[in-house]
Symmetry: C2
Subunit: 337 residues, 2 copies
């Protein structure tokens, strides 16, 4: 991590507010002397004027080659006949685990104090198979696929994460009382992996009960691992506990050690280009990327500056009840470095 040999990382600013918040990350990284050289590619729902396409081979190759990347929001058109770009990236880069740390931000009050949860979501299969068809008029079906391979892989990741981050417990979230074969296989894989980590407590919690317990007392949980759709739902629920998707980082882990960090909030076209967006989620995601690169000093310095700025409360964007612009908030973070 010396300044003379920069690490190359891919940057997909994305749609809507993406470019503004990506700019914020670039500035903060520059000011913090992070030895990263960004390789920027456009991936998004606007047609790229140069390539006439949404997602180029070069964009994918850039992540594969660099091994690390950061992505901004990409709009998901409903029923427009093309797949979500988020999904395409997950499939193409085999991003099998989505890790979302979710912790209360000091000084930013919600109904919940001291939330500290990690959701780890299987990111490639389950209800996201894309396999759907009409059986007869008025009767449609979709296939949920659970495989031993993907379940073991994400369970391994979850237990390894728990162990290496000093966490105590992994909860596998499921609905195996109804989906005995699919969610049953997922649980079986989690149990197999759990046996290899006797120092980590392991429990199984039914998804409906899990959601009830999370809103009653999030401190009951530590690391949660689950199939795709449950992860989608629970990670958003957890984000809600601490203030919303504008504040929670996310990182996708792919085979071969690829890490693609991402802001999971929307592209907010209504405020795009107006210098109003909150860059926190993308900044904190960029921090998870630094941790993946083991640049912990830089990660700590930037994370503390972000949390310090929010905690101080003088500069907050509108979504947090303040009236700061993206650039003023970014400058305040830089001043906190």
């Amino acid at each position: 991590s010396s300044a003379s040999t920069p690490i190359r990382a891919t940057l997909f600013p994305g749609d809507g507010i993406g470019p503004e918040i990506a700019e914020s990350v670039k500035q903060v990284f520059r000011e913090a002397d992070v030895p990263i050289e960004w390789e920027e590619h456009y991936v998004g729902t606007e047609i790229d004027p140069r390539t006439q396409s949404f997602l180029t081979w070069e964009s994918l190759e850039s992540v594969r080659k660099n091994g690390v990347g950061l992505k901004g929001p990409m709009a998901t058109p409903i029923g427009k006949g093309h797949r979500s770009l988020n999904l395409t990236l997950r499939k193409e880069l085999n991003l099998y685990a989505n890790v979302r740390p979710c912790y209360s931000l000091p000084g930013y009050k919600t109904r919940y104090d001291n939330v500290d949860l990690i959701t780890i979501r299987e990111n490639t299969e389950g209800e996201y198979s894309g396999l759907e068809h009409q059986v007869v008029r008025g009767v449609v079906e979709s296939l949920k696929i659970i495989t031993r391979q993907a379940s073991l892989r994400v369970a391994e990741y979850a237990f390894h994460y728990a162990k290496s981050h000093g966490r105590e417990r992994v909860s596998a979230i499921h609905k195996a009382n109804i989906m005995q074969k699919t969610d049953g296989l997922f649980l079986k894989c989690c149990r197999e992996v759990a046996e290899k980590y006797p120092e980590i407590k392991y429990e199984e919690v039914v998804i409906d009960n899990c959601c009830m317990m999370l809103v009653k007392n999030p401190a009951l949980f530590d690391v949660l691992v689950m199939p795709n759709l449950y992860g989608d739902i629970i990670s958003d629920l957890c984000a809600g506990l601490i203030g919303g998707l504008g504040l929670t980082p996310s990182c996708n882990i792919g085979e071969g050690g690829i890490a693609l960090a991402e802001a999971v909030h929307g592209s907010a076209p209504d405020i795009a280009g107006k210098n109003l967006a909150n860059p926190t989620a993308l900044l904190l995601s960029a921090v998870t990327m630094l941790r993946h690169l083991e640049l912990h000093d830089k990660a700590d310095r930037i994370q503390n500056a972000i949390l310090g700025t929010i905690s101080e409360g003088k500069f907050r964007t509108a979504d947090l009840g303040g009236s700061s612009s993206t650039s003023d908030f970014t400058q305040a973070i830089i001043d906190h470095l």
Copy 2:
């Protein structure tokens, strides 16, 4: 509703704490002069000594004939090779809509004030099809089925409920950005029905976003309608907002106007028979049954006595932080009648 012509209603006390809390309902109804004669049947996971079976034809016929019933908790064995009794009842009685009113109990403090939500869950299909199989070793799939008929039926119920209960808005909860055909059909049906109710506002909310918004600000919602699994998840989440499943009523609506009210919490075998269980959920469910029978005076009287007792706070069961027995709490409700 004259005392001389009693209405017959079916009662399934169920497993675990079921008999105790059913006793509480019977006492309160008796003291409030509710003109109901219970027809009690055992349905549960213990073998019935008389019939050697979990669920008899007579039990089902009783609900069909009476048109109304009340059920206590029934344990769902995981992976014991027989279907959940809850599910069997839903299928056999064609209980197509599960209605769960969820409101803050005056005087019982949680993190949320003034919650007032109605979740209406499609109760017969979706992820609960029971169709699962292993494709090859290590690859299993389950089928989610969405039909036009069931979706229209539950959407009709939701809009009719909203209109007849003076509600303003129906939100259809979905994941049609991923499951375009299945959840897409569900939404299409909701839209068709919405057009017949121009006085009711209609919106569509993606399930992950819905969960986030519910924990941030439940007042954003009013009546929510959704496919089976999302209903399972969201109704429990909502229950968590106001204190848990021990406090929330539930009623299942079947074709031909059948109403089977039920406590949706577990059978709590650890405290069964100890006079410690909280009968509130079953009592409030019994109240929804009275409303279904249009016995609104009795319903109001009993509901007020329950809420008054909890609000007063002198008699509360252990799950609500008190030390009252089931029978003392029940007596306090009777004193409030």
